[in-house]
Symmetry: C2
Amino acid sequence: MARSLRKPTARPNALVVAHDSTERARDKREQIMQGALRTFLSNGYSASMDAIAAEAGVAKQTLYSYFNNKEDLFAALMDRLLEHFVDAGMTPELRTLPTQAFLRKLAQITLSQMDDWEYVSMLRLVIGESARFPQLSEVYLTRLVSPGIAKLTHYIKMNEDLAFGDPEAVARIMHGSLINFIIAQEVLGGKHTMPISRERIINSLIDIVLFAAQQSAQSR
Amino acid sequence: MARSLRKPTARPNALVVAHDSTERARDKREQIMQGALRTFLSNGYSASMDAIAAEAGVAKQTLYSYFNNKEDLFAALMDRLLEHFVDAGMTPELRTLPTQAFLRKLAQITLSQMDDWEYVSMLRLVIGESARFPQLSEVYLTRLVSPGIAKLTHYIKMNEDLAFGDPEAVARIMHGSLINFIIAQEVLGGKHTMPISRERIINSLIDIVLFAAQQSAQSR
DNA sequence: AGCTAATCATACTAATCAGTCTAACAGATG
DNA sequence: CATCTGTTAGACTGATTAGTATGATTAGCT
């Protein structure tokens, strides 16, 4: 990733098509954010502004013409990144599935994020920087976690197959066990140290929940 | 926490009782590790050696007479810290309890670590530095997580009240939902953003597992 | 063609940090 | 009392970093 272009009059910018100034600014901003994203996700907040500029293929000065300082860049970046993950999860057409198929699909979608390097790195970054940037954790919780749990809670409440006494607690347990699986397997490298297939987790989780729901309904 | 002692001939060392050289060295080492522990857990690996020396009440040179460099100090420290948490969990007398009481007690013990600032900070540190120090994650997984899950798996297997098809997966789900609860509530500050009592989680988790176990046994 | 604004490479400042060096000093031992 | 070892405070080095400054170059606009 070393950049050693030495020609002083080079424009390393690829993709130069017709651009008026406003959309060029938008592209530059985008270019910076892409580079900063990769660099922050790889190196954490301690990534240097020089490294970010190099990765983005942009002069350092340009960084500072789009963002006041490192912290602002980081905040804007994480904001956008979290926004990008908001939509993963319960889509309307999923709700038409029978209960078991719905739960399986939901779990599969949640765990499919394991394969997304950006998601895994984001998790590590949010948790790792939660002392220095509590606001970042808060955005993560309120934008990603809380809505996901709320939707699952609502689904449990509305579904007569899932008559639990405390739907929110059940939703948190289900969601938490999956997120922790991602943390253990991907963030911490447990897939090498203590591997287990995601199917086994999904199957057991669904078994437990559905069996418990039956028993719970029966004992009323 | 500012240190501004200016007297050049001061020994700020409290607790000076009869000491031969070997035990004085042990005490110094201990003093350093205590200070380093607090500083690393508060500030992450980016804590400065000057700050550690100050927090330990020791000259920076003394750090380097006990440890070769920052990384060695960090590694020795985390090794000892993780060792310290190994014993939390299943004690022999717990096993004599009836199933439900056992599970409740186990969950309570696990979640009681939420109140331990060192444990919570350790979690954040292990996860946050898992890219830079994969070995640290590995020690965490193999010394803390894996044995805990193995013991719970074994308990499930041996307990006829808990006839699950995949005991290990069930153990991972139970353990994971509790660890994730700690991460969400304490590490990420969810106790302010999306609070819920630990009793609700424990109750629902036990309900689900026991109900599912009954149903599972019934359907065999 | 000529002007303007954005971007470039590069160098700089001031601060911080890991690690080393020095010289002084305290406490135990002989 | 003399010596030796461990510790101290503080200065220092070399590297890195956030952020700024500069002066050249380029692209878009009229």
